[in-house]
Symmetry: C2
Subunit: 256 residues, 2 copies
């Protein structure tokens, strides 16, 4: 899938592309300023579900990034919309820090919703979810990423718990965040931009690049964050371009 000659919007993953934990990736702050100067509409798409959007924005701004809350689409907020649209009353297994954003679990749930509880994933909470799944409740997950890059190395993401619950329950989860096509489409619809006229920049080959491609959006893979050398030789996920980092991706777009 080729890059558009004149892109009309840029979708940008956050963790691993602009920053790792609370550290900006070298050159990323200035590259974002340069991209802003081009006047292209930007949207930031994150599957991070351990923090509410307000804290994500505050953290990005503290690192020096000029980003506002309404430019950020999170898997948590997309899940909140989906739950409201379907009129569901879920049991939530999520990080305590997003409880205020997603709402409280219902005593008599009609769905199960999983976020990245991180260190709060505990056996008893997983067993409760397992039993609800065995009763046939729909299984909705904010993301199913395999891992992410933290300052001390690659770190287990919520996909492990999704896959494990799927295995034991024999049930299949519905993913709300990347790589789900509606997660990308919602953002592009708001901007009024066709998929082939947009570009996504991400560090996750399967969920960023693979998801964007499935939605018709060309993707640029950066060699930062969770990137691993083998990602450049994947049999099916082929980025439109692979560049060293976010600054190189912006330079590539400027040269187009």
């Amino acid at each position: 899938m080729p890059l558009p000659t004149a892109p009309r919007a840029v979708l940008i993953d956050l963790a691993g592309v602009l920053h790792i934990d609370d550290q900006a990736i070298p050159g990323a702050v200035r590259a974002l300023e340069a991209l802003r100067a081009s006047g292209l509409p930007l949207r930031f798409l994150t599957n991070t579900t351990r923090s509410p959007r307000g804290r994500i924005v505050a953290s990005l701004q503290a690192m020096g990034f000029d980003i506002t809350a309404d430019e950020i689409q999170t898997a948590v907020l997309a899940t909140r919309r989906l739950v409201a649209q379907r009129g569901l009353h879920p049991h939530y297994l999520v990080h305590p820090d997003i409880a205020g954003e997603i709402g409280a679990s219902h005593a008599t749930p009609d769905a199960v919703v999983l976020g990245d509880a991180g260190p709060h994933f505990a056996y008893d909470a997983l067993n409760t979810v397992f039993r609800l799944l065995m009763q046939g409740l729909p299984f909705i997950v904010m993301a199913r990423n395999r891992y992410f890059m933290a300052r001390d190395g690659l770190t287990l993401d919520m996909g492990a718990f999704v896959a494990g619950l799927e295995y034991s329950s024999g049930r299949q989860a519905e993913v709300v965040g990347k790589p789900a096509e509606p997660f990308f489409r919602t953002v592009l619809d708001e901007l009024g931009v066709a998929p082939a006229d947009a570009v996504l920049i991400g560090d996750d080959l399967a969920d960023d690049i693979g998801g964007a491609h499935a939605a018709g959006i060309p993707g640029i893979l950066v060699r930062t964050g969770k990137f691993r050398p083998a990602d450049e030789h994947h049999p099916t996920h082929r980025p439109a371009a692979v560049v060293d980092d976010f600054a190189a991706a912006v330079a590539l777009l400027a040269a187009a």
Copy 2:
């Protein structure tokens, strides 16, 4: 796979067949006495890895079962043998109650060994295992059962954590307990009995019946423990017989 007309050994799963938690299944104590009276050699095969063999035997005897330790093959002890045979120095993520039976984790491990830590499965411990797997260490698991029956209902077993770690790491686990063929073969070799002359009685369609069949041993599925009605109509796992409980399985063998 037909039942032998004159079986020469009976292999029996424990949890869900003879008992649930610390309660004997009705009729199972007397049925085991009747089976003993037939003079057939018996062996008990368990994937339970939350308790050492000594405690499993004590619990069975407290319920009234006439079973000795040397008749029980556990996935923990099979793993200990495999680790010794290969000269491995594993990192263990196991239940604290079997630490004395399996040994301590090595500071510079050359393998990862997972048991059913149960309530002790915690995010940080799983992340440590994930990182070792990403370094390429062999991944050995005592079992990968999906769930088991406890007194308060179907309960998440270690297979969820195995499947989750496989998903995130992209690595494949080697299973030591059921349904691994060597786990059955070791027992039959000790008894000098050919697979087709033995019978297995179990409540787990995939790991008991499927595993036994793969090892050439006809299996009887009981409708107790984790049994679910759908197990009787599985497309590939077809027990030699399905009976209500252990007592009915013993009666079936006596009538053969």
